[in-house]
């Protein structure tokens, strides 16, 4: 395995209670994880297991309560991390082009250059003709692709994706999964991908980190044995189904418990 790109060590996150009398929420509990350079790691777990919180910590949005993390410095990358959000989080009053060009704009890249590069990224995600459209004029899948284009153009050392396909319909989801596989095949970025779909995690990841419900801990880390480049065909193999069944066995109890809480 290549050198660790992301090192998470004994990370705990406790959220203070909103109201008096409420218990503080222990979202992540003593979690340690190494992500290798160019590795595609999926984190899967029941809702409320703190998997999104881990990403937010890596993005610098949530401070760790204890422990910490390190991202190996990369002199060639412009930023340590870039994030793809669960909701697309596009800016509604900007065109798709200006949304995608945003990371460059923040760095003071000239309008001409950033538009040119944003168009290249839109081409790669098959959004060329929607450059001048506003987010609300696009379908959910297209918006999410624009969100991915924005994260790619940021030229970050590590990509974080927080259930990027969670809000999409089933078919769009399948299409975007193949796109992500494709994209990763070409880019080989270090990618941490949070999902609640076991199948998605096995289809996409090099490793699958299975988390347990609150407090969020690592249940098991599974090395995904399927060869790359992959496509959807792998999901129909017996080995895939067996592997998915194993993960489901790990998650079943927690998922039921989470359902009862909700």
């Amino acid at each position: 395995m290549a050198a660790a790109k992301v090192t998470i060590s004994d990370l705990s996150v406790v959220f203070p209670p909103h109201d008096d009398g409420e218990e503080p929420v222990r979202a992540v509990d003593a979690l340690s994880l190494d992500v290798a350079e160019n590795e595609f790691v999926c984190i899967v777990g029941p809702s409320g297991c703190g998997k999104s919180t881990v990403l937010k910590v890596l993005a610098g949005l949530v401070p760790p309560t204890a422990g910490g993390f390190e991202i190996a410095p990369d002199p060639e990358a412009a930023l340590p991390v870039a994030m793809v959000w669960q909701g697309d989080a596009l800016i509604p009053w900007r065109t798709i082009l200006d949304n995608v060009a945003m990371p460059l704009e923040l760095r003071g890249v000239s309008k001409r250059e950033r538009h040119e590069r944003a168009r290249e990224h839109l081409d790669r995600l098959a959004l060329t003709q929607f450059a001048r459209a506003y987010p609300h004029q696009l379908s959910g899948g297209m918006r999410q692709r624009a969100g991915i284009a924005r994260a790619l153009i940021a030229d970050a050392s590590v990509l974080l994706m927080d259930e990027p396909f969670g809000a999409l319909d089933a078919q769009t989801r399948l299409v975007l999964q193949e796109q992500i596989l494709d994209l990763w095949e070409r880019e080989r970025k270090t990618l941490v991908f949070v999902t609640h779909s076991i199948e998605e995690s096995l289809l996409l990841g090099d490793r699958v980190v299975v988390m347990s419900a609150r407090p969020g801990r690592i249940r098991e880390i599974i090395d995904v044995p399927f060869a790359r480049p992959r496509n959807r065909d792998v999901t129909r193999t017996q080995a895939f189904q067996d592997q998915a069944g194993e993960i489901w066995a790990l998650l079943r109890q927690d998922a039921r418990r989470a359902e009862q809480f909700a």
């Binding site: 949005l61 065109t95 899948g141 480049p229 792998v234």
Partner: protein, 282 residues
Amino acid sequence: MTAAPAQPVLPGDQAPAPAPMGGQPRSSRRTRRGLAAVARTVIPLVVVTVLWELVVRAGLIGSTFFPPPTTILSTLWELIQEGEIGTELLISLERVALAFVIGTVPAVLLGCIMGYYPFFYRIVDPLVAVTYPVPKLAILPLLLVIFGLGSAPIIAMAAILCFYPTLVSTIAGVRGVDRDLVDVVSTLGGTKVQVLWKVILPGALPVMFAGFRLGAGIALEGEIAAEFVSASEGIGAKTWSYWQVFQIDRMYANLVVIAIVGLAITYLVKWAETQAVKGRRT
């Protein structure tokens, strides 16, 4: 295992291309609707004016207090030709514009801080809550003590009046901005100033404009009221003094001008709003 296609064709892409904003038929329909709206405003106004004229001419109402509209308009024309209206109007407009800027800029700044940082909100909000309901016109004598005579106390009065609506709406607007968007810009390396400039201000703008509209109207109102008592120049001061010397037709002529200014300011802010939020979802 088959290799994934290099550039898969996505079923979602056959979705309809975004319709161009406002096609031909829609825009002509919009013009017609606009004309209808103008007609709805103008026709009752004309009817009331004509009725007024007729009632006064028929001797049903004394023309001392209610001179017929034709008289008011000819007096207005005289005052315009003499140059009086223009001079006085400019003085008042300058005061209103200054007051609007002086009141609105700090309101936007403070509103952004209070809307974004709950800590500041908790500290400053009680002060706002206590001073907001106080009738601000009541402190005009105090402003006269502080600023003396002249334009300064009038501008201060109007500025204080228009400060509040903008402050309240800026706080609401900033609080309503999607926090995810703030996080997006800050994770992409955006500075605090960039977050403010690219997300918070544009995100809060539509709500802030509600405050600008109210504030502009209230600034004019306060300016006129302050001119009544403490100025010898300006359109409000003239209205007041023509009442005092009982030149009722001239008083009415000035009132007409004030009404037009009020309308013009409202439409100006509305126009600015449509320019500022162009292309957004309505």
